[in-house]
Every structure is written in C-alpha cells, then in structure tokens.
Symmetry: C2
Subunit: 454 residues, 2 copies
Amino acid sequence: MTYKYKHINLTEGFISFINDHQLLQAEEPVLLAVSGGVDSVVMCSLFHEARLHFAIAHCNFGLRGQESEEDEAFVHTLAQQYQVEFFTKRFNTKAYAKTNKLSTQMAARELRYAWFKELCNIHQIDKLATAHHANDCLETVLFNLTKGTSIAGLHGILPKQNNLIRPLLFASKENLLQYAQAKGLSWREDSSNKQDDYARNLIRHQVIPSLKLINPNLESTTNLTIDRLSQVEKLFNEQLENIRKEIFFQQEDIHYILIQKIKEKPWAAVALWELLKPFGFNFLQIKNLLHPSVQIGKSVYVDNYQLYVDRTTWMLTDRKQTTVTSKHIANEKIKNINFLGKNLQLQVIPKEIYQITHTNEIAALDLDKLQFPLTIRSWQTGDFFYPLGMLKRKKLSDFLIDQKVPLVLKQKVCVLESKGQIVWVIGYRIDDRFKITDTTKQIYELQLTSFSKS
Amino acid sequence: MTYKYKHINLTEGFISFINDHQLLQAEEPVLLAVSGGVDSVVMCSLFHEARLHFAIAHCNFGLRGQESEEDEAFVHTLAQQYQVEFFTKRFNTKAYAKTNKLSTQMAARELRYAWFKELCNIHQIDKLATAHHANDCLETVLFNLTKGTSIAGLHGILPKQNNLIRPLLFASKENLLQYAQAKGLSWREDSSNKQDDYARNLIRHQVIPSLKLINPNLESTTNLTIDRLSQVEKLFNEQLENIRKEIFFQQEDIHYILIQKIKEKPWAAVALWELLKPFGFNFLQIKNLLHPSVQIGKSVYVDNYQLYVDRTTWMLTDRKQTTVTSKHIANEKIKNINFLGKNLQLQVIPKEIYQITHTNEIAALDLDKLQFPLTIRSWQTGDFFYPLGMLKRKKLSDFLIDQKVPLVLKQKVCVLESKGQIVWVIGYRIDDRFKITDTTKQIYELQLTSFSKS
C-alpha cells in the first residue's frame, strides 16, 4: 500500500504487497471474486503469474439480461484458461431487494458475500480476494471526508479484514489498465459501472481528475498518507482502550463515566464521543456536555439512553429498563424474585434466631403485618410512606430528594407494597409501620442482590 | 468551528466562536488585517457589531497599480466609518521577492506578517486577526491531502496560533457573502484573487463544487471532522511525547533510539517517523528500516545524519561532526583541549603520588616517552598501534572490530599521536610503548569527559 510499489512491475509489486501485509500463507488457496471487469481479470492474471492457488467465483445477479449471461460465460472461459475451479450462482436480486427493503446495490452486496462465505466453508478455502485497487480506496477516503468522518474513515479500504483480502490495493486503476493492455488481456465492460452511484461518479470523474492535475501520483501519495493515518488510528484506539479502562465502569445496568479525570484534556470530546458512540451520542452532543456552562443535574436523552451529568461523573442508563411492570410475591414460600437486573432473596426466620444487619439492602419485616400477595412496582408521583424512625408520613418524592438520589437512580426506585401500603422503598428504607417490634414472632427478610456479571 | 454555528445569525455565531475558543479576553484590542475584500470587510463589521475594540491594518503591495491605490483608499474610508485607527504601508514587493529569491506571494506574506508584528509591538496590541473562513480551511485540508500529509495536515487552519486569531473560521464563504449583501456592505474585488495559484484555484472552483453536490453542508461538516481529527492529533502528540521519553536518549552527540520497545507495535513506523522527521527521514525510509529483512549493521544516510541499525537500538549521528581536524597539544602545561564535543583534561603528576584508575576514559602515560607537540586526529585506514598488554602491533581497524565498536562510534574514534606514533586510541586503549613502567618518573594523565549538556 505504499509508494515503493510504483516503479517496479505489477507482478513484483503484487507479491511484495502480499508478503508485506501477510495476506496469504504459502500454498494457501484463495477464492477470487471475479466479475469479468478489468480489475478482476488482472487479479486472476496476477494470481496465475505468482503461481498462487486459486479458484474463481462469479455472481450472476441477472440485472442486465443478455449482458449478465455473457459475463458469466466470459468468466467461465477465463477459469478454463487458467485451469482452475469455477463457481457461479444466479440470484434473483430484485426480489431479494424488495423482500428485504434494500437498494439493488445493497441486495447484491449481501447476496454476494453470503454466497462467498458459503463457498469458502464448503470448499475449505480460508481466504476470499476482491480486486479493490488504490483508486477505490482513494474514492472511499474522499467520500468519507465529504460526508464527515472520524479518524477511522480515513484508512480507506483495508488490505485485510478477517478472511477477506484486497491484494491489488497497492496499484492504481491506471496501473491495472496498463498491465491488462500490455498482456493483451480481454475483459468485460460493465455498463452499470458507468452509471454507478451518483456520489462515487462525481468523485471518480470530476474530483480525482482535478486533484491529479495538482499531484499526478495522487493514488500512491494517498496510499502513503493512508498508511500513516491508519497507524495513528491504531495508536489512538490503543489509548482509547486505556481511557475506557480508566474512566468507564458499569454497576448493575448503569454505566458510570468518570469524566473528571479527562474533561480538561484537549482530546476529551473525541475520546468520549468514540466511547459513547455505541449508545447513539453524536460528537456535538458530547462537545456541548463538556461545555463549562453545563449545569450539574442536566440530562440528555438519546435513542434509548439517558445521560445524567453529576459533579464528577456522567451516568448512563437504558431508558427502556427504567420502569418495571408490577411483580407479585404470591406467598411467603417464594424464595426469590427478579426485577430491573436485581434479585430479591426472600425468607421467613423465627425471631429468636434472627440477627439484625443494618444495611439498606436488607429489609427485616414483621411477617404478621404483611398481607400476600405483595407487589413490587416502580414508585410514582403521589406515593407516600412512613420512613423508619419517623412518625409522620412523607412524600416519597421528598424522601428521595432528602436522600440525594441522583436522577438516573431515582427513576429506577421500586417499592414493595402490601395491600396498597408501601412496606419498603427497596434498597433505601423500610416503612415504620412494618418494622420488627417486641411482639414480632416471625421475620420476613428480603435481601437485595445484583446478578453477578460474568 | 462547529456545526452549531450554522443556524444562528452570523454575529451570534461570531461571538460564540470567539468565546468557545477563547480567542479574546474582554476589552482586549485587536489589529484586523484588512485587504478590502469581502472577507475582511465582513470581519470589520462583525467586530463593530460585537462592540469589540479594533484597529485596521492594510498592506499596499503595489502589485496592481491603480487598483492597489484604490484598495488602500477604500480601507482607509472603512476605518473612518468605524472611527478606528488605520495603519497602512507600501511595500516594494517585487524587489523584496527578487532580493530574497521568493515568489511574489511568499514575499508579500513575509512582508505582511513582519509589519503586523511590528505594529502590534509599537501599539501594544496583543492579537492580530485575519479573515480566514471555513472554505479556506477546507481548501487547505484538501490541498494537504492531495500532496500527502500526516495527521497534522488535517487540522486545516487553526482558530488560534500564538497571537494570531481567525475568528471567521466557523463561517463559510457563502455565509460571509450573504451577510455582506444583507448588510449592504461594499467591498473591493481583488483581480489577482481570480487567478490565484493554480492548485488552490482547481480545488476552489472544480473540486469543492463537485463535493458540495454530494454534501451541500460540506464546510460545516468538514469543520466538525477537523475538530475531531485535531483532537485525535492532540492525543497522538501527547503519546508521541511519552514514546520519545521512553525510547529516545542522547549521550554526547549520539541519539540512541531503543526501537526494541516499540518495533512490533502497529504504529511503530508513524511514531518513529514523527520522531525522526526533524533529522530529515521520510516515512518510507522508516518503514524500510523496520522491515524484518533489515540486517543488523545497516546504515542509512539522510542529509547530515547517519542512522545505524544495531540489534535493539538505532544510533543516529551527525555526519558533519564525525571527522576532527587535527588538534595539537603544544606542551605539558596545557590543561585541557576540546574535540568532537568531548574534553580532555591534562595534567602531569609525580609517580609517587599517582593512583592508577582502571578505566578507558583515563590514559596514564610515561611523560618522558612523549614528544610534544602531541596531535589529536581522527583514526584512518592503515593506522596501527601496540595495544596495551599485547606485544605485537595490530591494525587499528582490526582492533576496533575486536572491540565490537558500532559503526557510528567507530567513525568518531580519535587517536593521540606522538611523533607519528599512536599513543592512545582515545577512550579505548593506550599503546604499550608509552605505558608507565618501574622507571617512570612523571605521569602524564589525560582524562576524557563529555561537556555537560545543559
């Protein structure tokens, strides 16, 4: 993918490129995706010249009538010339596109790669090669830049992605055409190529020719630029993982982001954006959240997520999970119950042997005061109870404010009810009316635990 | 420099941009560079609307005869309208360009910034503002990409560089034109703008219009992309400094690069390239040096530097400094002498009180066996001596091989001569013929030290 492949002949460049990027092991067979266009025809010739083992696969998408049939026949003949295995398949592309609500282009893409994968499996071929070249790569970079991109959009097309290899990326379209002409190869012109999609056409036929007036070696220069930028990207990704380990952690179903540690860094926005992108946040939202004017207590809602800004930390919760449909505890024999990623262990214990533990995670109640079935539900406006140790009733909303429960946690608070009366604000405080007294005989103990995260 | 400035009016965008990037302190005066073109005319209007303190500076490069005079008069009038201070200066640009062998464009640039700097000093103005906008920035990025670039070439034009600020970078050329028209501003068309330079013209009039057909918001999208990439660049630079501290060190005038520590990293080439760029190395040279096929002992020569590949380390030396013109020690009273960044301390000590130190940095010789003046010179092919402890003469080249002196150090080896005989291979071994014996009366001690690096 670098400049050095420019001055030597194409076959040598091809072999160097394969070696430098470790695309193939010796004697390893490769399935070549061959449309019959000049790029894939040159690829076959190079594999043949380099004495590599290959088979040819051709997709007939049936989109251009007689032309499609002729393409298939052409590639079949090519395979016979090289005396290699030939696979072909006809697809009903239009029907697939319609059924799956895809563009014809996307449908063809899906069908193609699914079939290639199947072929590789059946014939025990580990590598699939496509004929993408330096101009395809350059077009992709310019397209990404035009549409807006992160650093990842600038590495263009990679030489190797899982079992897919692109051994022609070192060469420009011009190099391939020159080679094809010099070798007297014949190929099929794809009439659909010329219409192609609008954006790629503009880039290919308007933008790149202008840029080549400034730099005639644009493709090889860009290959070098991409090589540098993709290395910067790798270092960036390595650091991003370190940052993630340092500032991200998850407890139950809340993600905590310790932004205090990085918020003054000049790269804070891009790092947080990369880390929060999977949740649907965009760069500008992150920039705005980092703005010094942002108030503590601010919340941002994106897709299914809510991000809550606390003093030193951002808290991220899944909004879908924040309300719980009522759950019932039928009787005192039920041993445990799950809700909101948490688990309640339930047991009845004679008072004589009970040892009180002072923790909010355990509620010890007077069994005789309870009336089954008990209900677990999300708290709601208007709820009130008698917090343990207080003699008068209190609005639950006021109680949660007093306890300084952050918004993201507040939304997840559930209550345990007995006959419409709140018995326990789960994980926070039991109700004074249901506490253990001298007259208690049996204790109903509820212990809150999280699922262990494996 | 971000998308959010798009939907609000230009003055608000201008103020937000200045605040977000902390371009100015409250009440701080700014010198505006005003050509009289639409960009700088809009800049004046925005500074006026935002009630900022400013003065106007206009350069008359005298390149377009009457037009240049009219431009100057126009900007003068503009300053009068805003009731701000006006500075102007005429330059003999062509003569300056000729004398300094510069293009007219580069000459104008040098003259302009030198004069602005002078003005700022005289009038105690700390900030200079130019009217670069988002399209200038976009053009720069596309130009750098076309010519090949590192990550640094993708940050485009920075909002702030030392005391130079660009407060219009948030706005596109189109935004500025719309504002000028809406405000009924008048401005001067610069006929030279239309010819401009070839590359910029192609990008401005051919490339960008095509890309805008794909993305009509190209300028603001690119501003966001640049913002992200420049943050990646900052994180990269931070890491680069860490890598430098870990693997680079200098001893005397040799740079040692402990490549062992990073050579397997996927970002090794780009990091080493950034670190070695100041010495003249290009990316491809670094890639080739990292190739597994590179032999230990290989040397690469670039500009004035030589890079020598050792097993775990690269050694970098300045080739200019590797030979020393002969230096002479006139007599035994000389106390010290410098050569190749090293220092020799010289003294005569009676044998009775002399304490021998066994180190290669100190030579203890029999004074009576020496004949002044002594000479220090680089070693040369054909040199031989009698290494201490050996009874037969040895070629110096063989001695240095036996001692496994790496190539970069070998070139710097100097010898001390007395009447054509080698007395000391400085820093390695004395000659057996000049050693101290039982009959020695006075010892001539030479002690090798490096200059302390401050």
